[in-house]
Amino acid sequence: MKKTVLRVLSLVLLVSVLVLTTAGCSAKKQELVIFSWADYIDPELLSEFTANTGIEINYNYFNSEEEMLAKLEATDGGDYDIIIASDYIINIARSEGLLKEINKEKVPNYSNLNEKYLNQYYDPDGKYTIPYVAGTPLIVYNPDRVTCEITGYNSLWDESLKDQVVVMDHMRNVIGFTMKSMGYSLNTEDPEVIAKAGEKLMALKPNIRALDGDTPHEKLISGECTVGYIFTSQVSNVLMECPNFKVVYPEEGMGFGIDSLFMPKNAPHEDAALKFMDFMCEPEISARASIFTQYINCNSAATQYLPEDFLNNQAVNIPADVLGDIEFMEDISTEATEQMNAIWNEFKQS
């Protein structure tokens, strides 16, 4: 045993010395550091960008936007060039002064973008962000196994759905749709309304089979759950695997979100970042990005490049009259957040 250990130890030492010495010597190349969720940009698009411009891409992942923002603050917006994140976290980053203004002259393709998705609350003057894709959580269900009629959020409370529902494991979204089901806004801060929503939410617990925001589509595809309130791309995934599933645009109105590209304040490779932004605004590239992510396209010029089945997909191509009735999930007061957090903990604990 002694010899074994000594051998293992010397092997460990050898490997670490070897690797440490080789680690230091990497040549300086033009580089672009991207920070986003895993698998959120088509790797083919990234290699095309590198082939066109010679800029190497270094893609870093985060799993939660809160982690991303904490990291951004600690590095004072320094280490990353391009970040793709959702509207509410960009709004916080903007209020903390962590964003860098985009020089639009270097992004001529900006003009391709659909104005509907520009100058939103998180970037009212359109100075910092380029919309990447948009989405809205929807209800999707298996008509073969669901006996009740599903028209909106309120249907999720139906007694026949006991232990069958999957909704995202996300406090604001779940309490948000509960308030919407009662006819209030997602962003209500009135403590009485929140408290009432809390009571109503508790009644939903028996119907919940699982809370999952990452892979709820797998639970629907496997037959573990029959109804889900899930994100756009996940709805698409369900429909691709199980075409018989039905999509519901909730009658009470829908939440909405836009994920955008932005540069942090001290981005080290600004030129490369601007080139990348321009690249992503090219109509054909934008179309491919939407097809890859299965989210709503934000580029007016891209429509001609979108294939038939993408345009027929109810999750990513929502009729304009339905999409009129949407609401962003904005940041709310500390008091309201705390109250919701208490409700959320009780809901999960019960």
Binding site: V12, L13, P43, Y61, K71, I221, E241
Partner: protein, 263 residues
Amino acid sequence: MKKKNGALSKLYVILVLFLTYLPVFVVVLYSFNNSKYGNWEGFSFTWYDKLFQNRQIWRSLKNTLILAFSSCFLSILIGTAGAVGMAKSRFRTMNLLENVSMIPMMLPEIILGMAYLAFFSILKIPFGMLTLIIAHTTFCVPYIYINVQSRLVGLDPSFVEAARDLGASPTRAFIDVTLPLIAPAVLSGALLALAMSMDDVVISFFVTGTTSNTLPLQVYSMLKMGVTPEVNALCTLILLVVFGCIGLYYLFMSLYRRRAEKQ
């Protein structure tokens, strides 16, 4: 002398090993699955193809190996020396030191990660391999320490004393007497530490830099986004390497022994 195992105890050992490997077999099997979601739809190498095209993964693998081996090595040195030294020391802050050094094991990763994030940015240490090694070494030390320490308790100190009486220097006595006695504990502690380091996601996320991403970070993100088959393929390869190493080691050892016997 100790008794040999009966059929029942052998069966038990095999059963536990089987259950340990059951989900692993599933992972290996499904890495050859044609379909992305669960159901078996035929044999295919699609995911291996995809895996080999993903250059980021190979870069992360290199980082992980650097990190795991150097932090494991450092923590073996620090933890073993600490446990052996503590057994010989008496000082007032001893208990305190021991308890504080265990904290990384007890604290949720997220809070430790946040603390390191703030700590390193206050100290202006740039995030990268150095910060990763510091963090991993710190949380690996307790695993070595606790293993070696529990082995030392109840070891007969007279062995070491005898060696010293026979004129061995303290270092000599350590290498010839103590080390062989604690070797299995060092090894199992090291295996645990290696596993912890290879499995850490949260702390690594907070202390990593842009060029030092590790494999667990990548694997975790991919799993969260449901890119499972590719990860299955990756882990099958890792398992293959691990078992390859174990196999080679045993082959080497038996050859070595056979030669020693012939001589």
